[in-house]
Symmetry: C2
Subunit: 203 residues, 2 copies
């Protein structure tokens, strides 16, 4: 499709730009409410020695960017006004409002487990986030994002005692789809598992 | 866009067909894992005196249709192989595998809070499902599906004690987007609130 071709060219250019500036750029993808912004709030606090920029993608409102700024990082909010995913052109435009010398540039995509997996934003890696409250069957039912991601964060593990989620089955299904995916169960609320995620970021 | 025009024509034909057969057709839309299939399992059991058909839409697997058949209703599974929403042509094709004389025809859309809201499937009404675990900000952040839906089911209310979800704010935001939406908080797990949903269905 011509759309993906034009996007791909822009994404390659962005990737070169991020690399030349020494920024580790990550594209965070999940269902709505899986915990992307909460994870970023805690990551900003946990890696406070680094300069962090965040590009927030949402259909509407600036609520997420406001939360990020309050947590202590730079943020720019993209409103897609209906589009179900971010694309490289939107990210390129958003960069005009940010500094360039971040150690980490997080791109929080629009909450959607399907469409964002098809659009390269120039990121070094995609990070899929799947909450235990969504059920263990998501890696099998929505395979593309798990296939495309280097990392799977299983979020909200503090809720495991209250939901019927077979986390072993979730992990097994994710590895069936992508044998190379690195999986980190964590809770941004209690802090459990966050250190392993921070270690992966600092690698 | 020409795509929506062709879809709309098919949807109108489907709506006539459903009405002529006395079927109440509903299009269930939510994020992945908000609880659509669990709700249908309990609805089938709660309305066991009625003949119920279900069209299941997923990117991959037949897991949801298998759950529905086990719960006691007729089901057909559509696999979209990547498409992020159902459309009227897919529903029309699926009907070939179902009887015609259902009291209720539920269409469980692909888990996605964005794209499915734009495609009419010939349903009598859209039903949005939003779980308390996703956060109270979704009606403001993903407005179209709430604007388009006649009903909002707030699911998994048994988890309220364990999550930071301001359900009053969630409801207020939904009513801001759509003052006519009817809101039913419920738990398919404990049964709380299900009777009001059954009453709405039988109206
Ligand atoms: N119990 C628990 N709740 C969490 C955790 N992380 C996030 N939440 C809750 O999950 C809900 C959604 O969190 P967000 O961080 O806004 O989710 P998001 O993925 O950024 O949502 P969108 O940007 O709208 O797609 C909120 O009510 C959070 O309080 C966690 O580790 N444990
Ligand atoms: N605590 C609690 N968990 C629920 C409730 N309803 C569903 N769940 C859980 O939520 C997870 C997802 O439920 P499903 O019914 O499969 O969700 P779905 O919306 O059909 O998911 P997709 O079809 O993949 O989009 C499962 O682990 C269910 O057990 C509820 O009322 N309370
Ligand atoms: Mg967010
Ligand atoms: Mg389902």
């Amino acid at each position: 499709a011509p759309i993906l071709g034009a996007n791909q060219a822009k994404a390659e250019a962005l990737r070169q730009r991020f690399r030349s500036q020494g920024m580790k750029s990550l594209n965070l993808i999940s269902s709505p409410g899986a915990g992307k912004t909460t994870l970023l709030e805690k990551t900003i606090k946990g890696l406070s020695q680094f300069k962090i920029g965040v590009i927030e993608g949402d259909i509407a409102t600036a609520r997420d960017a406001e939360r990020i700024v309050k947590a202590g990082a730079h943020a720019v909010q993209i409103n897609t006004h209906g589009a179900c995913h971010l694309d490289a052109a939107m990210v390129e435009k958003a960069l005009d409002q940010l500094d360039g010398d971040y150690r980490f540039l997080f791109i929080e995509n629009v909450g959607n487990l399907v469409c964002p997996a098809e659009f390269d934003l120039g990121e070094e890696a995609k990070v899929a986030i799947l909450s235990v409250t969504e059920g263990a069957d998501k890696p099998a039912k929505y395979p593309l994002v798990f296939l495309q991601s280097a990392v799977l964060l299983i979020s909200k593990i503090d809720l495991l005692p209250y939901v019927d989620c077979d986390i072993q089955a979730m992990m097994a299904d994710a590895l069936l789809v992508n044998p190379n995916i690195e999986i980190f169960p964590l809770s941004a609320k209690t802090g459990e598992g966050m250190d392993a995620w921070f270690d992966w970021l600092r690698r």
